[in-house]
Symmetry: C2
Subunit: 338 residues, 2 copies
């Protein structure tokens, strides 16, 4: 039993699958499993298994702004666990108030373990690799690998925690630090009424949400938004072909001009939408996606119905205590705002 | 019983006061009381009494970056509850990465209720008034009163929480919002081994800490660092006379050139030191203060001894769950980074 996976799974045992949940399954939608062992299989890192000690340490690192050059920006600054796991800002802002040069929106960290690959262009395979990026990126946390490892090694209680988590011989490298952050992020899953429904609780969705789920399937949203993440797959969103009318800067997606499919879990809490944060309203985002990706002009009723379904993806977030960080020592690198 | 004052008071009942604790009392040092009703008398706002509902709401507001113009900076950004209640940065940074124009260091919010007045120059009488400042200051959160009240009123669950806390007729003004933040801040008290000792637990301090307390009194530190805050009084620190050799910008303290006495609670966790953040090490800060304020050149042994005592002021911080903030609505003002 991993205690650090605090997120409340449903108490309901598996009942008969409804006709609608069977349709949803056929369309590729999958629930967060209603058992911790099943969930652990989905989210664990086979190269660095989840343990309470690693997750607790990873949480501290996630919240520690001293990983950034300035000492002012932590992972949680842009992927704010109290704000839907993102920052609510159109395009990310970072070191020296620099706006993301590709005008990219900070995606949510909640359920990001269910992304097939990480970053909008999918360039990294997992959260561990992803965590290395923003810490070093000039417009984000602007730190060097050495800054990060020197900072953590300068505080005895961090060293002790790494030893307790990985053994006395642990070498606290930049990669060990980011691996530990990634492991914490893997636990940030938020089971929702949709999952309860898919796991057999027929009453977990109200009528409007069930109707919305039907519409969501019928319209074809599930062709991209599927799997456990209800999204997170690659290459479904053609940036260059469809977003000429928006100011997207020079970001061209991956080599095919595509960006990753967004997760729809907690989507009601993560406006503004799309990779460039250009769409403010969920209703408008639904209509735009149907138009661009499916060539379908949704009626107001259809869009509203899908929006009702999406509300059922608001997940239960575990209680996350603000970690009390160790004090800097004489050898901790000083914050540098420049 | 106010549940939201989670900070763990000692379980020890009052024993015989030791000779040393009597000396400390004579020198003006006072403990955080070891009973919630006594503590409440000290920290409550007579014009807006502490209740669990107000404190819970105030905590959300404290963590909500949407109170800032950019949507990126919350009270917790500079007064980080996981980082000793401050930011660890020499001089505060804020909107558009602006460094505090007077090169002033962010003071800790923990135990700030024990300050006689607020801000380095003591210009505000209490935390409620203080909270109005940084939210509106151009180099900090850069918001207007209207931005703040419009933001909070735009989210139905915030409105409901204000109604539950203050009654159905509540008008959610900027001042009501900052009053509620101030009330949350009043609860951020951190009882420490020093308090346990003063409240009768002879064994709460080790020998080095007791010796340090004696040195602290004998040298005369208690002439300024006294009361429950172990500091927090006015006008003891002469900026213009003593800091010509440091780059203090154009900040001249209050009309007499003075700044407030810092609280020493959790001082081991809030480097760098002084109003301008110019001193990195606590040992050096101790020696500088003795030199400047008391005209005393401390021996290394004396400075080390005082430092040992100061460690006993590291307080027990309550478990603070990251508040889950309501999602923005269609009428919530958009973040503005400019």
């Amino acid at each position: 039993m991993i205690k650090s996976i605090l997120f409340i799974l449903s108490a309901t045992s598996v009942l008969m699958a409804s006709s609608l949940s069977q349709d949803a399954t056929k369309a590729g939608l999958m629930p967060i499993p209603n058992s911790q062992s099943e969930l652990l299989k989905l989210i664990d890192n086979p190269k660095n298994h989840i343990t309470d000690k690693k997750v607790s340490l990873g949480k501290k690192l996630y919240f520690d702004p001293r990983l950034s050059k300035s000492g002012f920006i932590s992972c949680n600054s842009c992927h704010n666990l109290g704000e839907g796991g993102d920052d609510g800002i159109e395009a990310a802002v970072g070191h020296k108030w620099t706006v993301n040069p590709h005008h990219l929106n900070s995606p949510t960290v909640y359920n990001s373990v269910f992304n097939a690959r990480q970053f909008w262009d999918g360039r990294d395979p997992d959260l561990e690799t992803q965590a290395q990026g923003p810490i070093q990126a000039g417009p984000e946390m602007a730190a060097t690998k050495e800054h990060v490892s020197t900072t953590i090694n300068s505080m005895p209680s961090y060293v002790t925690e790494f030893q307790n988590a990985y053994g006395q011989d642990v070498k606290i490298t930049f990669e060990k630090i980011t691996d530990t952050i990634g492991l914490f992020e893997r636990t940030l899953v938020t089971p929702s009424p949709f999952d309860d429904f898919m796991n057999g609780d027929e009453n977990a969705l109200n009528t409007a949400q069930k109707d919305g789920l039907k519409t969501f399937i019928e319209v074809g949203c599930t062709s991209c938004h599927n799997g456990v993440g209800i999204g997170g797959g690659m290459n479904a969103f053609n940036v260059t072909a469809t977003y000429k009318h928006m100011n997207v800067g020079d970001f061209k997606g991956d080599k095919y001009g595509m960006v990753k499919v967004s997760l729809l879990r907690n989507i009601t809490q993560t406006a503004p939408y799309f990779h460039n944060g250009m769409i403010k309203s969920l209703n408008e985002a639904i209509k735009e996606m149907a138009r661009i990706q499916l060539g379908t002009k949704l009626t107001n009723k259809q869009a509203k119905s899908i929006e009702e379904f999406l509300k059922s993806l608001e997940g239960r977030k575990g209680v996350i205590a603000v970690p009390m960080l160790p004090a800097s020592s004489a050898t901790t690198p000083a914050p540098n705002l420049n």
